[in-house]
Amino acid sequence: MRFVGMQNYLAILADDLFRKSLLITIVFVFSSVVINVALALGIALLTEKPRSKLANLCRFMIFVPYVVPDAASAGIWNLIFFPLPSSPMNVLLAQFGIGSQAWLGDSNLALPTIVLYYVWKNVGFSTLVYVAGIKAIPRAFYEAAEIDAASRSSIVRHITIPLLKPITLFVVVTSLIAGWQSFTDIYILTRGGPGTATTTLPIYIHHTAFSEGVAGRAAVLALILFAITLTLTVIQIRGMKGERRG
């Protein structure tokens, strides 16, 4: 082993691809987490009361994509978004007169397609966490609201959502942490391509360490990723302590 001082760190700072992959990861993580959490809350509120058989069926079905192994579910997304006019998504859009797209093969559409994948895959998990959170809200809150003859929508807005704040914090932070680290799905979907359009930080670390074989530089990239995850975890722990005190 040979110590090279700060050489690895300086090389990273000058690395355009590192900055690009960081930006791609931020865009991917934040857009998928925002959509995922908003959708999960919505679905949880819709299916919260066992209103009907359909609501129960929904809670069962929505978890299936999460249960399927990551590599397989990414394989499934390839079956729906392959870049030919006959792919299911292109056929669907053709009904509305929208032309055939290359999706994962198009450098502008590849990342949004992955975000959509990520929401499909993970929204079931977040929804079930919200459903559990809603169940834990004491009935007394709702009874008081009913005496005041509050409307359905104002009960949701002024009681349910504020009381779900700790759950929202949990879902947001765990999804952020998982998003920053996600590797398998993107590797199967695009391997970071086309070009470098979907090269997130984990994909870039893998590429640097095991395709280019620059382990020293990959180790620095890995430490940066670790620092980001650590920061998010600390925010989560702080936030949860705050909730308990508040």
């Binding site: 590599a71 398998t184 095991f210 995850t229």
Partner: protein, 285 residues
Amino acid sequence: MVNRNPSKEKIVDLSIELLILIVVIFSISPILILILDSFKSYSEIITIPPTILPRKWSLSNFIEMAERVDVVTMTANSFIVSGSITISTLFLATLAGYAFAKFEFTGKDKIFMLTISKLMIPTIVLVIPWTSMMTRAGLLDSLLAAVLPYLSGAWTIFFMRQYILQLPDDLLDSARIDGAGELRIFFSIVLPLIRPALATAAIVNFLWGWNEFLWPLLVLNSKQNFVLSIGLAYVKYSGGVMTEASVNYAMLAAFSLIYSLPVLLVYLLLARQFVESIVLSGLQR
């Protein structure tokens, strides 16, 4: 005042049902497409006009897949890897969790903090040192290397500790007074009481093992050592061709279905236990 107009309520209920139906379709239609595609020929999948049901239900994708890749060996390897990870983790992590919950020893809190801080380290960070360790130990390209780092797990230790903490100390103490040895207490008193936790930990660890991709991708090189997850990457990217248009989607569908089937079957049988286990485990992978 709120206007509780019955016909308006009905419309609201109906539109909620409609929204739920859209969510169900969004969640499940990709899975249905997977199942249907795996019985279609490649040319049927890529030609216009598309079909929904296969023109002819045929097993030829599965037969062709079995000729090109040794899917039986890969399935066996996946079961060996996930099974040994599960059994070993359940044994070692339960013992460790028991020690953290019910024994006093020097540096206990610090060792415990160190153990759970491992949960914060992403796998991509860990595999870099793991790879150089396995290279030096001469274990590259063996199933042993694929399971070694996972023989115990921080999450399971943490989970078991929390569960065992709830057991009353009196129970263990009275067994000690009756002259039971420590191992006997563990096996005949503690283990039977924590059976639900063991079931949860077994489901979670087996799923993680079945799902594991990055580490096997790095340590398993020869095809007879592949597990299903990297077999899938091989099927998609075989020949090193990376353009989307050259992927054989019929094969990809057949392989994805084989890989998912065991997990889907268990989910159908044990949905409630499954959901509880996974939601408990959070997103810690």
